[in-house]
Amino acid sequence: MYNNDLRTAEEEAMAKKLAEKKAARRNKKDEDNPLAITSLMDALTIILIFLLKSYGSDPMSVPQKKNELMIPKSTSMSNMVECVDIQISRTSIVVKGKKVVTINNLGISSQDAPNGYIIKNLKDRLDDLRNKEIEAKQISAKKFQGEAFIAADTKIPWKLVDQVLKTAVRARYLRFSFAIVKTRGG
């Protein structure tokens, strides 16, 4: 009976000691290593670099908006280069970020295109940009052959796109690249 009591007391003391040791070890660990965030930092830095790289890879961006400007899908694999960009949405025509014409019922009003085809404000804006380009590149006005990048909404009727093309040709922009969403990677 006495022996059993002694053993229990000894065991209790041992268990207490062990618990104290464990607690001490736990506390010590917390104090030494506050939080291992180095690996997390590495991962975040990689994600940041990837995002920054994908952000700046295209020379121009096309802000797509539902029911306003949704560019068509295509199997084309060609990449864009920097040139004058013209956006034809369901409500307006924007050239290099500046709105030049308002569109009503997917068409141009007779005020904006007095002779039926050439859009006056668009022509003026493209003339300005052409003159700036001629000055910057120091080439003769006769030799100038500009390139334009056209981002148009899928539902735009061809007549409107044709009016823009004809106006651009009048301003000596003779080659066009139509913006598309790639359906094939590359």
Binding site: L44, P72, S76, S78, M80, I156, V161, D162, R175, V181
Partner: protein, 208 residues
């Protein structure tokens, strides 16, 4: 001993401000980044295309491929006339639109195969080898959509005219590499675009 004391005195760099900055930057970039890939389809105006052809030798043949997109479908013609004269005489397009579920559908796949079998495949070898009968405007197509045709239809028609159908892989000899990809590339510092890959009629002029 002195060294150990020095190390003990140094504190870890506080990474929390950098972490905070990164945690703010990543959602911002994720929201503003565009994950869809934007590409282009290169087109000329018909006038520019004609001027280029005149500069080339006059003794060569001209194909003069034209695709008219109408509300009824596609009318395909060359310099010789309609590619489907019987249908044209009956007032029908070469490839008619299909009405399904109250919607009008243009048959892009059918147009692609039609152009390939009727015009591309029979003339492929002579134009590749630059033999007699080479067309001065080989690879060119003029697409003339009606005013009310949607822009989306024009883009899909350009795709159908540019890309070779899958059966070309087994039927045409001497295709570059194994794939049927056709693309334009502008080498750095150069003015003109270069054509890469295997294409059918990639040089498109739009309008009249």
């Amino acid at each position: 001993m002195a060294k150990f004391e020095l190390e003990d005195d140094l504190e870890d760099i506080n990474l929390m401000p950098i972490m905070n900055l990164l945690c703010l930057l990543i959602p911002f970039l994720l929201l503003s980044a565009q994950f869809i890939q934007i590409g282009i389809i290169l087109v000329d105006t018909p006038r520019k295309s004609r001027v280029k052809d005149k500069k080339k030798k006059k003794d060569k043949k001209v194909m003069g491929l034209v695709i008219d997109i109408t509300q009824e479908g596609y009318y395909v013609s060359t310099k010789k006339g309609s590619v489907c004269p019987e249908r044209k005489n009956n007032g029908q397009p070469c490839i008619a639109v299909v009405h399904a579920g109250g919607e009008k559908k243009y048959m892009y796949d059918k147009l692609q195969k039609y152009l390939y079998t009727k015009l591309y495949k029979p003339n492929y070898k002579s134009n590749r080898d630059k033999k007699d009968g080479t067309f001065v405007d080989w690879g060119k197509v003029t697409i003339r959509p009606q005013d009310q045709i949607e822009y989306d239809v024009v883009i899909n028609t350009l795709d159908a005219a540019r890309e070779l159908p899958n059966e070309a892989k087994g039927e045409l000899e001497g295709l570059e590499s194994g794939s049927l990809v056709c693309s334009f590339k502008k080498p750095q510092g150069k003015k003109e675009w270069e054509l890469r890959g295997n294409c059918m009629f990639p040089l498109a002029a739009l309008g009249r």
